[in-house]
């Protein structure tokens, strides 16, 4: 533990030294293009210092340390609100999958530029009719000699508008059961026939996209895994559950900030912090957030002893996001009529209204609450799967969404 503590304090010092140049204050008010440029420089700075791929092998540009050092770095880094989100998917799923399924040449070719922030990768999975239901995707890939020709549409593709490359699941055989007719590829996002159209989200941001495929031709050499084996590779991609940097406030404002607000406001002329309703709100947040931290500490220690991550991520997401929604609304209530104010330049981590506005997206993206509860029931508690009438039916005989 003491080595890790030393690592943490070394990281903290290093990060603090770069906060002015790359941190939250440097980012405030920037256009997204400028913010991305700053983020790329930050990523490069980390790469040069050996902090970009802490748990990656050295030959791919990493530092060859464990997931624990990686997690410590991420936790400390999160405190400064650096611009890291653009690279989260890229380095989180596509590149690790390439490192597992692609040739050594390709690994060398792609790992370094991605780590440096020079190249960004996206993950082309969800579609309009297949969100929670990944095996329901329709985008067709048809074999033509040594190539495959792709037609169809992807949806919710994070950062596709900035991506140089992507990994994709396609349907290559619609006559077999839905899970069996899928095949997985990587591709250059500049391949002719690909059109990316950003989607504006409810909070006004545009971090996800629609991606249209019109006669997009890619060679079979870009296939990852066997023909018809795409669902397995896709699940493999999603299961790259590293011990990710978690935040007990669900990346919303910290509880301290709620307490400060409660001290600064009144209810019926008396300090709000003395009102039982406020006190219950604070206690509810504290008890749950501290429990999440304790679960994290426990997991962290288990990882040190070689255990695999379990359901902690699902619990964390479920509890922290609900709590963030509730606490954000309560903070808005405390501010009274001014609670509705929405400063366009604030970040969700600093601002209750932004936090409240963004949280519904987070209760859906990356596993909706309902899916998380299903996963807990089925994987951990041995409860049966819901009825799934389309499971054994050939895909082309399934009734589409109207």
């Amino acid at each position: 533990m003491s080595d890790l503590n030393a690592f943490r304090s070394q990281v903290r010092t290093w990060l603090a030294g770069h906060a002015a140049e790359f941190g939250v204050e440097a980012r405030r008010g920037l256009s997204e293009a400028d913010d991305l440029a700053l983020a790329r420089r930050w990523q490069r700075t980390k790469y040069d210092a050996g902090y970009a791929g802490i748990s990656w092998p050295k030959i791919y540009g990493g530092a060859g340390l464990s997931e624990l050092e990686q997690a410590i770095f991420a936790e400390e880094e999160a405190k400064f609100n650096f611009g890291t989100s653009y690279f989260g998917i890229s380095l989180g799923q596509p590149i690790p999958v390439m490192l597992k399924y692609a040739s050594e040449d390709l690994r060398q070719r792609f790992a370094h530029p991605a780590l440096k922030g020079e190249e960004i990768w996206c993950q082309l999975f969800s579609e309009p009719a297949a969100g929670s239901d990944l095996a329901g995707i329709r985008l067709r890939a048809v074999r033509d000699g040594d190539d495959w020709v792709l037609n169809g549409q992807k949806l919710w593709t994070s950062w596709a508008q900035y991506s140089d490359y992507g990994v994709i699941v396609t349907r290559t055989d619609p006559t077999v059961a839905k899970h069996k007719g899928l095949t997985y590829f990587w591709l250059d996002m500049k391949t002719p026939g690909i059109t990316v159209r950003p989607i504006r989200l409810a909070n006004g941001e545009e971090d996800v996209n629609e991606v249209f495929f019109d006669e997009v031709r890619i060679p079979d050499s870009q296939r990852l895994g066997p023909v018809g084996g795409g669902f397995g590779v896709a699940i493999d991609t999603l299961m790259i559950e590293r011990y990710s940097a978690a935040d007990e406030a669900g990346f919303g404002p910290a509880l301290d900030s709620f307490v400060s607000l409660a001290k600064a406001t009144t209810i019926d002329g008396k300090p709000a912090i003395e009102d039982g309703r406020t006190r219950r709100e604070i206690a509810n947040a504290f008890r749950q957030q501290r429990a999440l931290v304790a679960i994290r500490t426990k997991t962290f220690m288990a990882l040190q002893e070689g255990a695999e991550p379990g359901a902690e991520g699902s619990i964390h997401k479920l509890v922290s996001m609900r709590l963030r929604q509730r606490l954000s609304a309560a903070a808005m209530d405390l501010k009274g009529a001014m609670g509705a104010e929405l400063d366009p330049h604030a970040f969700p981590k600093d601002d209750w209204a932004h936090s409240w506005l963004t949280v519904p997206t987070l209760r859906i993206a990356g596993g909706a609450d309902e899916m998380l509860l299903n996963t807990i029931a089925e994987r951990l508690l041995g409860l049966p799967q819901d009825y799934r009438p389309d499971k054994a039916v050939p895909f082309d005989q399934i009734q589409p969404s109207r």
Binding site: T266, A272, M332, L334, A340, E341, L342, L357, R388, I398
Partner: protein, 363 residues
């Protein structure tokens, strides 16, 4: 006073709904969200043309002299379509003070839709400050600041809850376009509500001749709350329909998602919330119309039911819609924003909870 709508009332609802279906639409509201201090002029022109501004003003004062029930029907329908302006609500609340304060001319102008009047009551986070920081001198000069005034970015006039030279609460009427008034639109989660900060620095206002200005302010706030609650009921019902339609149509894992109990029960809960809020609003309207002493506690119940129900309905509808639900182009976030905005506009939950608790404590 009956709890069932009469044929005439049902006709009014039909007419309002028909009129609005050609006027207010989500695209307009989405556009309004982009900048602060703007409202849906088309909708507002319609509201004036249709006489909705005049409904609850007495005929002698230039209004239509309809009851609170008709007024709430209009409020509900405007809430259902997310109409992009809050001036029916503020005008309805202000009319009460203008009537008691003997301002027939402005009351007539309000009924006729020529003037928009806002309530400048709240300070900091207190919706009805017991000891207002804004002051009015013997010369009618007002000094101080009111924040987050609903409709304040656009209103012609405002009723200011202030403290007179004797330290007694007063309600003063001010022309917001007169000298010494500065207003700044506040960017908010629902910009169509036209929130503004109002600063008074030597502007001149007229104190309304009221026996108990604090009481009248409280009554105005209750009327504002009731109107907003009724808008909320319309919003809940819109969410209910949207969620049920989507759950019937959207397929996942080979069946309509409405077959999954998590989805199905979430929608049933919206229904329950809607029934509670709807009955509660009507109940409060009837009691207020009857002049019952305890009407304020029932307005509080209506407001809390509407706010809880709408906050829940908007969030649940979003969740039922999945990814689509959190896009800018989809409707759920418009309700999510409106629900929260309504809940903050006339005093937060604690204020209204305290109205109920104090009422029962004294009973």
């Amino acid at each position: 006073m009956p709890y069932l709508y009469s044929d005439e009332q049902n006709q009014i609802r039909e007419e309002v709904r028909r009129t609005l279906s050609g006027t207010a639409d989500p695209a307009t509201l989405r556009r309004l969200l982009e900048t602060s201090g703007q409202y849906d002029e088309g909708y507002w022109q319609t509201a004036r043309d249709m006489g909705w501004t005049a409904m609850n003003v007495a005929e002698a004062d230039g209004g239509l002299g309809l009851s609170l029930v008709e007024t709430m029907i209009v409020a509900e329908e405007t809430g259902r379509v997310l109409a992009g302006a809050p001036f029916l609500a503020t005008g309805f609340a202000a009319a009460h003070a203008l009537k008691l304060g003997d301002e027939p001319e402005l009351l007539g102008a309000l009924a006729g839709g020529q003037k928009i009047v806002a309530l400048a009551f709240s300070e900091g986070n207190e919706p009805l400050p017991l000891d207002p920081a804004v002051t009015i001198g013997p010369d009618g000069r007002v000094a101080g600041e009111k924040t987050a005034v609903l409709g304040g970015a656009v209103a012609d006039m405002a009723l200011i809850l202030c403290r007179d030279a004797g330290g007694v609460p007063a309600i003063a009427l001010i022309d917001l376009n007169s000298a010494g008034v500065t207003r700044a639109a506040i960017p908010s989660i629902d910009n169509s509500r036209c929130l503004a900060a109002l600063s008074f620095d030597g502007a001149t206002a007229t104190v309304l001749p009221l026996n108990d200005a604090a009481l009248v302010a409280r009554q105005c706030l209750a009327r504002l709350a009731l109107h907003l609650a009724s808008e909320g009921v319309g919003g809940i019902e819109a969410c209910l329909k949207m969620a049920a339609d989507y759950a019937n149509q959207r397929q996942a894992f080979g069946q309509a998602i409405g077959k999954f109990q998590a989805v199905k029960h979430a929608i049933s809960e919206i229904y329950v919330a809607n029934e509670l809020a709807r009955a509660s609003v009507l109940d409060a309207a009837v009691r207020l119309e009857n002049g019952d002493d305890d009407a304020e506690a029932y307005v509080a119940a209506a407001r809390l039911n509407a706010n809880h129900g709408y906050d829940y309905a908007a969030a649940a509808t979003t969740q039922v819609h999945g990814g689509i639900g959190v896009t800018w182009e989809a409707e759920p976030h418009l309700h999510y924003r409106r629900a929260r905005s309504l809940a903050l506009e006339a005093g937060g939950a604690t204020y209204w909870e305290d109205r109920i608790a104090s009422y029962l404590e004294a009973a």
